[in-house]
């Protein structure tokens, strides 16, 4: 896959606040890679993207792929919300802030794909990719062993 250009980012994320601090995150989404900022000097992760490492003040922050595994920390079921072609609020749409295994407190917020049982706080989840319109959309799916081995 060719690397999406800056112009493509603006075309495909119309209305989003794409800027020099978060462009690699958006570029990653188009390549189905979830990239969060990590400090090149001390290894600390942070999100949303900032120009400096909140721990050591280094400006050597690098958008780095995460493993996509984590634990549901916040969860809401949306019975209505902003229009999106793939979201039918007639079935409440779960949106979760997932604490990623990379670091305590590092969270990423995304929708949770449907399953036999609604998701719950504390569930173990993994990253999956869906599609919204013409672009990839990161989502989480509950692990088969939803209580398996994670922090809460």
């Amino acid at each position: 896959m060719t690397t999406p250009t800056d112009v493509e980012l603006f075309e495909r994320f119309g209305g989003a606040d794409v800027d020099h601090d978060n462009k690699e995150h958006y570029r990653g989404l188009l390549q189905r890679r979830l990239l969060l900022n990590r400090c090149g000097d001390c290894g600390w992760w942070h999100h949303p993207p900032l120009p400096r490492c909140p721990r050591c003040r280094s400006n050597q922050v690098v958008a780095t792929e995460v493993g996509g595994r984590g634990t549901v920390y916040l969860l809401t079921f949306m019975h209505q919300g902003p229009p999106a072609p793939d979201v039918d609020y007639a079935t409440p749409y779960p949106v979760a802030s997932v604490e990623l295994d990379e670091q305590p407190g590092l969270r990423y917020t995304a929708g949770v794909v449907g399953g036999p049982v609604p998701p719950a706080i504390g569930d173990r989840v993994h990253l999956v990719w869906a599609t919204r319109g013409d672009r990839p959309l990161p989502m989480f799916a509950v692990d088969d062993d939803r209580h398996g081995g994670g922090r809460e």
Partner: protein, 390 residues
């Protein structure tokens, strides 16, 4: 923590102005609403526009208010994002420092096109930049800001406290009971807990009764030195202490946890600055744009411990009055809060607290009220707290 409070009681609120809170103000712009409120606020304290030398506002350009009202030359002006508490803090500091002597503070709300079908058919709302809450219209279902945060933290609260939604219901029911005595409120019908629990879900676990209704509104306040205030009005309301609070994780989904938010910072700093304590408070105004916010302020200010609000609010419930009455004495959100009065991002809380302390709250007047505790903000990036005294 070192705090200072040289502005203690040095600045006062002398004028209040407001417009009706409606779903559609009928052809009025946010600027017109702000101006209506400002004209009323100046009249309330007997000042002419030329007596003002500072203008602060949220959503409406302060220069346009200045121009429209014929305010002459000003030495201080500012536009700050809502809630209006942020501008009030600026105004207090400006008056105290001498940047100006008499400041006009204005806030207006304008229902966004997304608020209803009729709003969506109104070209003036469709073409407004962003919606009345400043939301980006390109917001996605998963965007972790705006309403997402409080709904998600409300869910986390129920999980951590191990309680049911009744804790939020008490905020909503209290609000409606108090609103029955507020002619300014949008919703004045009482609400039962059963009705609350059956409310239509919006973002589970929060329902239609947990979220304040968008309105078209204008509110204005006149702020001046304590000395000038005493010349102008019988009963000035002094800003005794105030603080904003924000952690280094000011994003809805990145807050460390529920116990490390802006509200703890506000409470710590406010009580360190204030000579008055919780026992002195006669009326309490926790912001309730989302019901979870109000619940959290009881805990932050020390009325009860974290996650003990469910028991505390049940204990402090006045069955006869069908509302909260802390220590059988202190009512909460006497105007009905934003939940009943309308979504004005804390402007209504400010107005009602001042009305109570100067004895102009009509049927709602709390006898002898002389100290108000306000938390007219949320708990993520916009936490604010103030102690006012008469």
């Amino acid at each position: 923590m070192m705090v200072r409070n040289p502005a203690k009681d040095a600045v006062a609120i002398v004028g209040l102005g407001t417009t009706p809170y409606r779903r559609d103000a009928g052809g009025k712009s946010p600027l017109a609403l702000a101006c209506d409120a400002a004209v009323a606020a100046l009249a309330d304290c007997g000042l002419a526009p030329q007596d003002v030398d500072g203008v602060g506002a949220t959503t409406v350009p302060s220069g346009s208010i200045q121009a429209a009202l014929g305010v002459g030359e000003v030495g201080w002006w500012v536009n700050v994002t809502m809630p209006v508490s942020l501008v009030m803090m600026e105004a207090v500091n400006a008056v105290f420092s001498g940047a100006c002597t008499t400041a006009l503070v204005c806030h207006a709300t304008y229902r966004g096109a997304g608020a209803s079908r009729s709003a969506a058919a109104d070209p003036f709302r469709v073409h407004a930049v962003g919606d009345a809450h400043g939301h980006n219209l390109a917001m996605q279902p998963e965007t972790p800001s705006g309403t997402f945060g409080y709904c998600a933290w409300a869910g986390r609260y129920l999980h951590d406290a191990g309680c049911g939604r009744e804790v939020f219901g008490r905020i909503a029911v209290n609000s409606r009971t108090n609103a029955t005595r507020n002619p300014h409120a949008l919703f004045r019908e009482p609400l039962t807990m059963d009705e609350y629990l059956a409310g239509r879900m919006i973002r589970e676990p929060l329902s239609i009764f947990d979220m304040d209704p968008p309105v078209d509104s204008g509110d204005a306040f006149v702020v001046t030195t304590a000395e000038r205030a005493r010349d102008l009005v019988d009963r000035p309301v002094y800003v005794h202490a105030g603080s904003l609070g924000r952690t280094g994780h000011p994003y809805a989904d990145q807050l460390t946890d529920y116990q490390h938010t802006g509200k703890e910072i506000v409470a710590d700093r406010l009580w360190a600055k204030s000579d008055l304590t919780l026992e002195d408070v006669d009326v309490f105004y926790p912001y309730d744009g989302f019901s979870i916010m109000a619940v959290s302020w009881f805990e932050a200010f020390g009325y009860c411990k974290t996650w003990e609000a469910p028991e505390f609010l049940a204990d402090q419930w006045d069955d006869a009055g069908n509302r909260l009455l802390l220590d059988s004495r202190v009512p909460v959100n006497t105007h009905g809060g934003s939940l009943s009065e309308g979504a004005t991002q804390g402007a209504g809380h400010w107005r009602e607290a001042v009305d109570q302390l100067r004895g102009t709250a009509g049927d709602r007047q709390v006898d002898g009220a002389s100290c108000a505790l306000l938390a007219p903000g949320g708990f993520m990036w916009n936490a604010t707290g103030f102690v006012l005294r008469a």
